[in-house]
Symmetry: C2
Subunit: 142 residues, 2 copies
């Protein structure tokens, strides 16, 4: 079967390469600007977009491992970008909410995100960009 196999057309390779390119390209922005890790950015963005959530809800939204979320929340809390509030009825739950500072950082990174998005969009062209987005979304159900 070796003859049928070609490394450079193998989807796991292609996907990984492209993903590194695209997602590390944006990572440089929040890393250089705020010294944030990818997990931290994702947690910030999720809270920014959806408002107050528990850690478990963040896991559901992002697909991040719960230890990553736990650490990212701790780190963002230390920056005073979020405050946590223990639920009265179920004291295992902590509702996590961005502070004004956190929201402001989120908004700044949204701007950067829109700019970055435009860059990639211009590179691919609008049609291909939409096509790609659709195909990637489809893959989520694999």
């Amino acid at each position: 079967m070796k003859s049928e196999f070609n490394l450079h057309s193998f989807l796991p390779f292609l996907m990984h390469h492209a993903s590194e390119k695209v997602s590390l390209g944006f990572r440089d922005i929040y890393r250089d600007r705020y010294r944030m890790t990818r997990s931290e950015w994702r947690v910030l963005a999720t809270l920014g977009q959806y408002g107050a959530l528990t850690a478990t809800e963040i896991v559901t939204h992002t697909g991040l491992h719960k230890t990553k979320v736990s650490r990212a929340v701790f780190s963002i809390e230390q920056r005073r970008w979020l405050k946590r509030c223990q639920n009265e009825n179920d004291r295992r739950l902590h509702l996590l909410e961005l502070t004004a500072q956190g929201l402001s950082a989120f908004r700044a990174l949204c701007d950067a995100g829109v700019t970055y998005d435009r860059k990639v969009r211009d590179f691919l062209g609008e049609d291909d960009f939409k096509l790609l987005s659709g195909l990637l979304t489809k893959l989520n159900d694999l």
Copy 2:
């Protein structure tokens, strides 16, 4: 600008999700079967496909960081899946070549790769699969 920004249509997010799905799906196979890391599989596959190469050439082919290549080569060598041969004219260079055992593991994983590829191909449909491959390839030049 926040209003323009949506997490779930943001390409770095989409790409990363899809890539995890696809490339970790295959990783489970070589990890469970041979206890290999992704770097090791990539080095093995590159040597299997192109024959003897130096570490630097592997870096060029794969885009892996040179320390990852160095460690992967060491680990594959310990399994006796590759032998290294110092270049006479330039003794900094080591030509890396798979042993019979290494080649045989590579071929077995190629079979698994073809099977996995077919699974994804069936899921997406032939047209979308080709479309996706093309778009991902295009992104390499971003």
